[in-house]
Amino acid sequence: MADLIRLTDVEKSYTRGKEKIVIFDKLTMHIENGDFVAIMGPSGSGKTTLLNLLGGTDRPDKGTIEFGGARIDALKENELAKWRSANVGFIFQFYNLMPILTAAQNVELPLMLTNLSAQKRRDNVATALKVVGLEDRARHRPRELSGGQQQRVAIARAIVADPKLLLCDEPTGDLDRTTADEILGTLQLLNRQLGKTILMVTHDAAAAKFAKRTLHLDKGRFNEKELAA
């Protein structure tokens, strides 16, 4: 299958005080279209930084990042924002819903960046909520929903604009096992039935089992055998 993402010789470091912390040193990897990859590793291994780079919310110091064959690391900030809205859905550990908006309005947020008509937006929101099984909670605000339901709303928000890539940062880290499995089942469904490419950062080995493959990251380097597989 064709590559959706390709990182080539990516270097990334942060400065903390006078100390330079190298996260990635010439990292090269690729993710195929339609893959579901779990990324595991200890704290500080670079998991979240990798998601930030892939999602265009951070930039590499050196190297290139390609998405569908086009470089995204060279895009200007506004271009990158447009690219994100069209191609990437984000799912966070703590849901990050806007408390002032209803579930439907939260899901509608990415559609505010499109030229869709109000009716088309409503239809898309209804479809996204139906996919995650929350069509009857459309008018509820986040505080009126359980953690699992909030994460489902976040998934609906991530898929409503029909992006190719879903980036999930510990999506079940704040949920009990049963609810976590339901959420992971939903992600699996999105991957298998809708063909979404999913990268999921997790500490949870049980969660990683829902992915097609797992990559272990340590000190900015992937396990070479897993990467080559």
Partner: protein
Amino acid sequence: MNDLVLMRKNLFRRPVRTILLIVSILIAFLIFSATMSFSKSITTFNSKPNRMVTVSKINFTESLPIAHYDKIARTEGVSVATHLNWFGGYYQDPVKGFMPVFAVDPETYYEVYKEDLPLAENVKQAFFTERTAMLAAEPVAAKWGWKVGQKVPMNSNIFSQADGSHVWDFTLVGTFPTPPGSSQTGSVLVGYKYFNETISFGRDHIGWISFLTKSAALNDQVVNAIDQRFANSADETSTQDEAAFNKAFAAQLGNIGLVVTLVVGAAFAAILLIVGTTMVLAVRERTQEVGVMKTLGFTSGRVLRMVLGESLLLTLIGAGLGTGLAALALSLASGGSSGGPPIYFDLSVIKWCVLIALAFGLVTGLLPAISAYRLKIIDALARR
């Protein structure tokens, strides 16, 4: 949902805080609109360029001999002249019933001010011919429930009659409107002849003389002729055009412009600090949400516009309510007025309110908007 809905929802996420902010902005704009309108009301009268006023050179409260009137009326360049006396009038209560009552020469007064005295012919004739005739401003007649034909006992806190009484019985023969800017600064007009015949002192003296020149181009010539004529006499005069006279009259109440500037400036400065600080805090407490919006693809420019829009929405709501309340209050105050210069809500104030509200909104929203604009996604999402 659109950006405006999102701004409104963000603005009212803490309703009590937002309502308190709106109330504080409302108060500032209420004060501004009311004082500006009041200032305009008492300094803006319909004035004709060829309408002039002669008063005593000492002070306009000093009376002049009636003979001055005859001489001024005959001055070359003067087309018609009239004279007025301050009656010091009140109805029933010296404080609540106080009102500007002028004793005038009816026929010449009408000639000088007829643009602002739309009187029916029968009313005009009654005012001209009936000895105790009285005209009242419409709001004043309405306030006291006076009806045409009614006897109105009017007190004077200056003059008395020969028998020591301070009360004159007048007959209301008609009313006149006092729209915004009317030259009719008096509430009640009574006949000078009746007044002059019955007062126990100050007879054959007048307060000031108002006259029309044949052309505004003759004003300077007429001013010089009049004031030079009475120079070095016991009753020297000072003649000026009506606009200058009104301005000087208003100045007796103090420097209204300065008062407005100081009061409103202090109110706005205080509110600016409160609203500005609160807006900074309000945006800071949702740093993570700003980060999420940017992650979803909202550009920094759009986030900046939304924060500024929120601030503008807040100030425009407060300003709108404050200005509306001022209009309502002045309308009610005008209805209960005892007369004098008609107090009204000046529509030009709206233009200033909109401009100030926009500036206010931009200033208070700029700092949090720039901060949201510069916010990096990874920094915003790292804050938990």
